[in-house]
């Protein structure tokens, strides 16, 4: 990508993000209830979107060749175990990332 393409990409992200922040204040008035379908999506969409993002992060990992995605699988297991144990977001992220760095630098 060229620098102008970077700027257009970032502008597209800003536009999308700001739409999600400003839309409620433009579209909904306090005296009118939020449409039921929107309320429903608000409840169920986040789980599915974060699942999609986890898959997105792993999109270039090959599970059938190379190291079969073992560093990723182990590091995700460590992240999840830390999170179930301590429920400290930063600790789980830091622990999982350090584990992954050690694995790809020294083991695989």
């Amino acid at each position: 990508m060229t620098v102008p393409q970077h700027i257009i990409t970032i502008a597209a992200i800003v536009l999308g993000t700001m739409l999600t922040r400003f839309l409620p204040f433009i579209a909904f008035r306090e005296d009118k209830p939020t449409p039921k379908y929107i309320q429903y999506l608000g409840k169920v969409l986040p789980s599915a979107v974060f699942a999609l993002l986890v898959v997105f992060c792993l999109k270039n990992v090959s599970f059938v060749s190379g190291n079969h995605g073992l560093p990723e699988i182990i590091a995700i297991a460590v992240t999840a175990a830390l999170h179930f144990w301590k429920k400290q977001m930063l600790l789980s992220i830091a622990g999982g990332t350090i584990c992954y760095m050690l694995l790809v630098q020294f083991v695989f």
Binding site: A12, V14, F25, Y37, Y40, G42, S47, H83
Partner: protein, 236 residues
């Protein structure tokens, strides 16, 4: 004028302590993001301007991989919409609270990230402290932590002596943790499982470069089709 100054000071004094925990988190994640940008070959100006203009942490992490891929602005726009869709519901919840805050309202809406929402939505603002200025300081302090952390990471990235190979996993770990938090909170996991199923199928069918938009469409279609039974589950 002095009255206004006292008001501002009181609002700042009430707001600052509430943001200290966010400071720790934003500096840690912001620096990781800045270092990641740096090792991906971007100048610190990128995290600086992106944190000022986008100001949505998870989206900025995703943006690193979008900037490294082929030029697909429509996909970037749609991803920003989907990833940040939760902001719609923060906005709806804040309609009332942000009313009557004057010109500050524009910035309050602009800076409405997860952490700012959680403070401004739940805070018991002390008697006599101006509500608008309190929320304004919470918002601007949080953004200041994020912008400074990510810019610092972008600068320090060049001076780091240890091997940063694998640091990109911070993004995966972050989404795994957010996903798990959702998983623990929810009564049933149908939506989470739809999210995994649809994206894995789309990844296999459309391949890594092109699977995001089909996945998003698939997820919304599935959730819309399953609305009746899922709403019953949620209500039960």
């Amino acid at each position: 004028m002095t009255q206004k100054k006292t008001n501002l000071k009181a609002a700042f004094k009430a707001a600052f302590p509430k943001t200290i925990p966010i400071f720790a988190g934003f500096w840690f994640l912001g620096m990781t993001y800045g270092i990641l940008m740096n090792v991906s070959g971007f100048s610190f100006l990128y995290p600086l301007f992106m944190s000022m203009s986008i100001f949505a942490g998870s989206m900025e992490f995703i943006a690193v991989s979008l900037l490294l891929a082929t030029f697909q602005p429509l996909q970037a726009f749609l991803m920003a919409l989907m990833i940040n869709a939760r902001h719609l519901f923060y906005g709806i919840s804040m309609l009332d609270k942000y009313r009557g805050t004057g010109i500050k309202k524009f910035y309050l809406i602009f800076g409405l990230c997860d952490e700012t929402f959680s403070i401004n939505y739940t805070a018991q603002i002390p008697e006599g402290v101006d509500r608008g200025w309190f929320m304004f300081f919470v918002t601007i302090l949080n953004q200041f932590y994020w912008v400074s952390g990510s810019t610092l990471g972008g600068i320090l990235g060049s001076y780091i002596k240890f091997n940063t190979g694998g640091i990109e996993f911070a993004m995966t770990a972050m989404f795994v943790v957010i996903f798990l938090d959702q998983w623990i909170k929810e009564k049933n996991h149908i939506s989470a499982l739809i999210g995994i199923g649809v994206s894995v199928v789309c990844l296999l069918v459309f391949k890594a470069d092109k699977f995001i938009i089909p996945s998003m469409i698939g997820i919304v279609v599935m959730l819309t089709l399953l609305r009746k039974p899922l709403e019953k589950e949620v209500a039960a």
